[in-house]
Point group: D2
């Protein structure tokens, strides 16, 4: 059973670390593809108003987590980042950021995801990330993997 | 002219975002190899006392930046992360973290770095990262690259 | 001046190593997006008819190179792979492979690219790669970068 | 039961694709750390005698596989590369290459590995790679993971 946008946002809001708080899922476009919004107020800014690299990494990781929550995996909230790779492409223009996250592969042990982060209402591509989330063993009901 | 440990720490302390504040260089072991300390108080914790993935990424990125500051590059403080890749290996035991960062290649345009993050006083390897820092064009006096 | 599909294919055919020989650009879809074909005969096969991981890495790297050749960069043929990251998603079904390669960022010093590799006439996503090509210094006529 | 150097080399020699053939394990230095040799004759050369990027990726992947074979995992020969990341650091001087491969983490589902590739009898670091090998489910006798 896939979580709805409202269910994911409700769960994300309960997470403690500040890094995760601001992210909100805007839309599910079927097939494991989500759009997320990260309000600039939730992000660490560099002098000059630019978003820091670590904040972009946090946004990428959190968007991946939101996508895993959406996929209908049992105990998905126990999934853990196994690896993450990011290219910083351009210094973001000031303002809110959007993330487009897509599950490229959903296996029994892990999910591989691609994230694109945009500034300027989706007009400026500022980062590309990919990552692997390891799923909890219990996510497979029959333990047959 | 390479910056000393004290000079790097003095500069790092002036940086604004909380993510960078705690890191302190402990020792330079020659040839672009540094050991850094990240006090647990400076890190975002997950429920249960474990350090979050984004905090480990921030630590890896900041340790790389400290190493670039050390290398004696002109205007090194203008260097920017171009890409970062991290493997999360184990959930860190509670307590301070140490990072061992090493420059693998120091070219005219960029520096490639390797980072190992440890918990338990260096006994538990919790993450391995590598990354590329792009150097400011002005770092080469003769513009001949 | 961008190279045409015919010009890229003519140049690629002159390259020595077997790894590069089979790749052929099929179509340019504007804005630095190319589709390439890698006939199975050009690929190293594993027992059972599956394409090997190193062959997929070679295909990803070669598709990126074809895209760099297309971008209208001076002396683009001198560009060199700086880094490459690949996720192997599924074991490819036997048959020719297709690669969709896109330039995510085209700067003065480097190009960042994304590659998706498909089997089954584009129906099966078998790998996702990203990479950075370093451009030759001479590609900028005024040396002002 | 860990495989010996002779056992690994005997098995590697039976593998079909040319990319794997040349690699030979030279020495095990305990704790999942191996040194391998890749004779230049086994490598694809670029005009000028330099080793190609895809050949370095093949060497990195094959060295990781040799290390997995060494770790004493059941049915280790069924392990598959899940992801690979490589930084090309310097153009290798002509001659044989050496690889130092180390298992950073050996879990029930996967092994994370680091590889350094050297030319010039170990004096010139030419590439750094890391990767994940997925282990076959059968490698755990009790299926309790």
């Amino acid at each position: 059973m896939h979580r709805t946008v409202a269910q994911i946002n409700e769960f994300m809001a309960t997470l403690a670390p500040e890094g995760d708080q601001g992210l909100r899922v805007l839309e599910v476009q079927g097939d494991g593809l989500l759009w997320c919004l990260m309000p600039v107020a939730a992000l660490h800014l560099r002098p000059g108003g630019s978003v820091s690299g670590p904040s972009l990494m946090t946004l990428a990781d959190t968007a991946m987590y939101a996508c895993v929550l959406h996929l209908g995996i049992e105990r998905a909230e126990m999934a853990l980042t196994q690896s993450l790779h990011i290219h910083f492409l351009q210094r973001p223009q000031p303002g809110d950021l959007h993330a487009r996250v897509q599950a490229l592969r959903h296996g029994r042990r892990s999910v591989v995801l691609d994230v694109r982060i945009y500034a300027e209402q989706g007009q400026q591509l500022v980062a590309q990330a990919s990552g692997v989330y390891a799923l909890p063993p219990e996510s497979s009901p029959r333990q047959d993997f």
